[in-house]
């Protein structure tokens, strides 16, 4: 009467990237990084993004805008430099190339140049404060460690990566359809997660309270040591946002992918973990008994079969206990619903790693992810530092003025960044700026009386 152990033949894979040339040391080192910053890092694109149209010639442009943006560098020996700012793209390039930071973080736009903040401390009033900041999200796969069995900790593989894909789809759709945001950038964090930058003017001007509200809107999982059931969906129905997430993304993810890739019902321990989420002891006892009795039968689809048992029992209507109403959805949500780091999103002054940085532990570049094709994204094939430099070397001499990144795998990412994100964003910024300017002009005209 022993539940057969399904053999989990999957090896934990440490993603370390393909190494094109065995002579190059794996991943990451300061010399490579120096070269990367010399040849490949897209300063111009980052500058144009961060300027939000203020680097133009229009009279409405705020020349101080870019210089009020905080950046921070983490240097080789974990030395941390905060409240850095730059006045132009060339200063930005110079600063980065000089310091060769292992990590670059982007902070908010402050009311005054952060590098000069102490000069304003005298006036007492809270003069130095953040005034604009993208709405950001950080999703880290280690937050799912209690529901993924293929890897744990810093590792990530193609069996658990779909959790990130699902998170992108759920959050992205909500940001667009529910909140009306248009300019959203998703970026691979370089190792085990994704970041999201919402860059609409409306988003940049959100208060902390509003950011917290959005984060809470997305929050379903309330993990804590004390409760067995971390997802609790009370109410006679699910909110339309949850319904959409379930029917469009999570149900299939769970049933078509996670059940087998994570082998959710393959061992007694794993089964017990799910049974603990059922608030009615008689139901879980019934299922436990049934699964213990199983002695033969294909072990290939043991997960699918047991899931069917469970669904059938809960949805049959035989058991009408409190809290069983949404139990199936609760289980699916527990395993698959996005888990956000709430603190990252709630405060304007939270720093987040810049896109196109290189992750020191993996050597991978933090490249943008296309949410429309996120299911095709493969973290194991993201370009690494060594790979890119290899490509540069073998690419031969390009024309003067060519972008070096164009000759490498990075080209695709930069082009995507520009066409899908940056250009539409800047176009919209220009329009906003012009219309605001014109209406101000109109107002002042109207108020003049002759």
């Amino acid at each position: 009467m022993v539940i057969e152990e399904a053999v989990n033949g999957r090896d934990d894979m440490l993603i370390d990237g393909q190494m094109a040339d065995q002579d190059l040391p794996s991943g990451f080192n300061p010399n490579f990084l120096k070269l990367y910053y010399a040849k490949l890092f897209p300063y111009g694109d980052i500058f144009r993004w961060m300027s939000y149209g203020n680097d133009g010639k229009h009279p409405a442009c705020d020349k101080s805008y870019f210089s009020r943006r905080e950046l921070s560098f983490t240097l080789e020996n974990d030395i941390y430099l905060r409240f850095l700012s730059f006045n132009s793209v060339s200063e930005l390039e110079k600063g980065i190339r000089e310091k060769c930071p292992f990590k670059i973080d982007i902070g908010p736009v402050y009311s005054v140049d952060p590098a000069k903040r102490h000069a304003y401390a005298q006036s007492g009033e809270n003069v130095f404060k953040p005034v604009e900041r993208e709405l950001i999200f950080d999703i880290d796969i280690t937050d799912y460690d209690d529901v993924r069995y293929c890897c744990s900790g810093a590792d990530v593989c193609l069996d658990c990566w779909p959790l990130m894909t699902a998170a992108i789809r759920v959050i992205n759709t909500a940001l667009r359809d529910d909140f009306g945001f248009r300019h959203i950038l998703w970026v691979y964090s370089g190792r085990r997660g994704v970041h999201c930058w919402v860059c609409d003017g409306k988003a940049r001007r959100l208060t902390n309270e509003q950011r917290a509200a959005i984060a809470d809107y997305f929050r379903v999982y309330k993990g804590s040591e004390n409760s067995k059931k971390k997802v609790s969906l009370t109410g006679h129905a699910l909110h339309p946002f949850l319904v959409r997430s379930y029917t469009e993304v999570l149900k299939d993810l769970f049933e078509q992918t996670l059940l087998s890739s994570q082998q959710i019902f393959s061992t007694e321990d794993k089964c017990e973990k799910v049974l603990e989420m059922i608030p009615d002891e008689s139901v879980s006892a019934e299922l436990r008994g049934r699964w213990q009795k199983r002695s033969s039968g294909s072990k290939d689809n043991i997960n699918a079969v047991r899931w069917e048992h469970l669904k059938h029992t809960l949805q049959s209507g035989r058991h009408k206990g409190q809290g069983l109403r949404r139990c199936v959805e609760e289980i699916v949500f527990s395993f698959s619903y996005p888990r956000l780091d709430m603190e990252v999103s709630k405060h304007m002054n939270h720093l987040l790693k810049a896109p196109f940085c290189v992750h020191p532990k993996t050597g991978r570049v933090c490249v943008p992810i296309d949410p429309a094709h996120c299911h095709e994204f493969d973290p194991t094939t993201v370009p690494t530092l060594s790979q890119l430099l290899q490509e540069l070397n073998s690419g031969g001499m390009g024309q003067e003025g060519d972008n070096d990144w164009d000759r490498t795998s990075l080209g695709e990412s930069v082009r995507f960044f520009r066409s899908s994100f940056l250009e539409p964003l800047l176009k919209s910024c220009k329009e906003e700026m012009e219309s605001a300017y014109n209406s101000k002009l109109q107002q002042s005209k109207n108020s003049m009386t002759w």
Partner: protein, 477 residues
């Protein structure tokens, strides 16, 4: 009797087309007759007290709505239709003056006026409600019928997910930028689409009430400042006496201002404790007799109560000394405790006459080990409370009713039921203050005991804050 010709008012609010629900944002520049000043305020106070009573009786929102409509109709009408709005506004502003003067008064007034506003808002027509939203400059647009059809299913889902009543065909929803309603977004209590939240009417009511409350709260603080700095002095011959009389002629939430108290003599105190003390004071009193000691909060709660009941300072000192000296000795009593008793009577230190605690205050206190103050309905274990109620003389049926109220955390209602059970008659006003319990009880008992009672005239050498009342009760059969 002199007939004063009513001056013609320039324009009424209704003429100007503002919503029928005033927001009381600025004091009106209307002329008011002095007697209307007082009369209007008293009428409005009846409404507010009625609301207070309804709330403490745990009435549901639908019942409250009905109650408010009735109260308003009964008290706030005026023979001249054009005067109705003026009465509304004037009475509110007069009561602001009356109720701005202490923290407790402000709190009560704020709660009651907000509740009044909330329920009156619910009773308005859709158009009037829209007008109010516009006045508050809330950027809410009502959802059109065609829009509603498209999103009806989603709205139903949301309502079901938060266990609210389902939207009907004529339900009003407001389309609001999501940034305006962060709490609703955070709790997933609204349907969101393209940056807009679809807010149900009852949610709008909450938002509006919150706005109203915060405006009024700020206004009250300002009014208080103005009162203290200029108005009180300026109006000392005209409005001030009326304002102060208003707060005396009505049972506000406290018993601080001198009222028609009987007075208590020491030899009556044990009998009167058994018959007319509410449970909280009875408990403290019994414990004092038992232990010959009470800790600080217990001394405050009981001591101020006894003062409010009419115990003179001399008698109070004698009373507490008689008990405490059995525990700590007469000398120590004189040294350590007498001072604070005199302090309570305003005879020491900054000579503030401290007011006996109201139920609200007592319920908020939390006794710890060795304490006996606070509200027993809140803090006693079920067992102890049942025993205490039996001791008070409540029959077993009554005890069950009381325990039911306690379970639902309606402590004042529990006390009211206790009162009704012991005295065998209803207490419609509900218990809000231990001294009220006492005086209501005494009224009933005295009317039952048909005899002449003469209270003693005071010949105290000590100056009293409030005038001693000598009462001669003679009973008409």
């Amino acid at each position: 009797m002199e007939i004063v010709r009513r001056p013609q008012l320039k324009s009424t609010a209704i003429d100007r087309g503002v919503p029928t629900l005033p927001l009381y944002r600025s004091a009106p520049s209307l002329e008011v007759r002095l007697e209307d000043f007082e009369l209007y305020a008293i009428d409005r106070l009846r409404v507010l007290t009625g609301i207070s009573d309804g709330l403490s009786r745990g009435k549901r929102p639908e019942e409250m709505e009905k109650l408010v409509a009735e109260l308003w109709k009964a008290n706030m009408r005026h023979p001249q239709a054009s005067e109705v709005m003026n009465k509304d506004i004037i009475s509110h502003f007069v009561l602001r003056l009356v109720y701005c003067r202490t923290e407790d008064l402000r709190k009560w007034f704020l709660s009651m006026e907000t509740a009044l506003f909330r329920y009156r808002f619910r009773l308005q027509t859709a158009e009037a409600q829209r007008a109010v939203l516009a006045e508050f400059q809330l950027p809410y647009k009502a959802v059109t019928t065609s829009e509603f059809e498209v999103i009806k299913d989603k709205l139903t889902l949301v309502a079901r997910s938060i266990n609210q009543t389902l939207p009907t065909a004529d339900a009003i929803f407001y389309k609001v930028p999501f940034q305006e309603v962060p709490e609703l977004v955070a709790g997933r209590r609204v349907f969101l689409s393209d940056g807009y939240a679809y807010v149900a009417m009852n949610q709008v009511v909450s938002l509006v009430a919150t706005q109203f409350r915060s405006l009024l709260s700020k206004a009250l603080t300002l009014t208080n400042r103005k009162w203290m700095s200029t108005i009180r002095e300026q109006e000392k011959d005209r409005l001030t006496p009326i304002v102060e009389a208003l707060s005396m002629s009505y049972v506000g939430p406290d018993y601080s201002v001198g009222r028609e108290f009987g007075e208590l003599s020491l030899k009556d105190i044990d009998n009167v404790a058994k018959s007319s003390f509410p449970l909280c004071m009875r408990h403290l009193f019994d414990k004092l007799r038992e232990d010959h000691h009470l800790k600080h909060w217990g001394r405050m709660q009981l001591g101020l109560f006894l003062k409010g009941v009419g115990l003179k300072l001399d008698d109070a000192l004698a009373f507490w000394k008689a008990e405490f000296s059995q525990k700590v000795g007469a000398e120590r009593f004189d040294k350590e405790y007498a001072y604070s008793i005199r302090h309570n009577y305003g005879k020491e230190g900054k000579r503030v006459d401290y007011t006996p605690y109201s139920c609200q205050k007592i319920i908020s206190l939390t006794p710890s080990v060795g304490d006996h103050h606070g509200c027993p309905y809140r803090h006693f274990s079920e067992e102890n409370l049942r025993a205490a109620l039996c001791k008070m003389g409540v029959n077993s049926g009554g005890v069950e009713d009381v325990m039911d109220k306690v379970r639902h955390k309606h402590y004042q209602l529990a006390c009211t039921l206790t009162f009704e059970a012991i005295h065998g008659c209803p207490n419609d006003a509900g218990i809000n203050h231990p001294n009220q319990y006492f005086s209501d009880s005494q009224k009933i008992l005295k009317s039952k005991v048909k005899c002449l009672r003469i209270s003693f005239l005071l010949t105290s050498v000590i100056d009293w804050e409030f005038p001693p009342i000598s009462t001669v009760h003679s009973l008409h059969p």
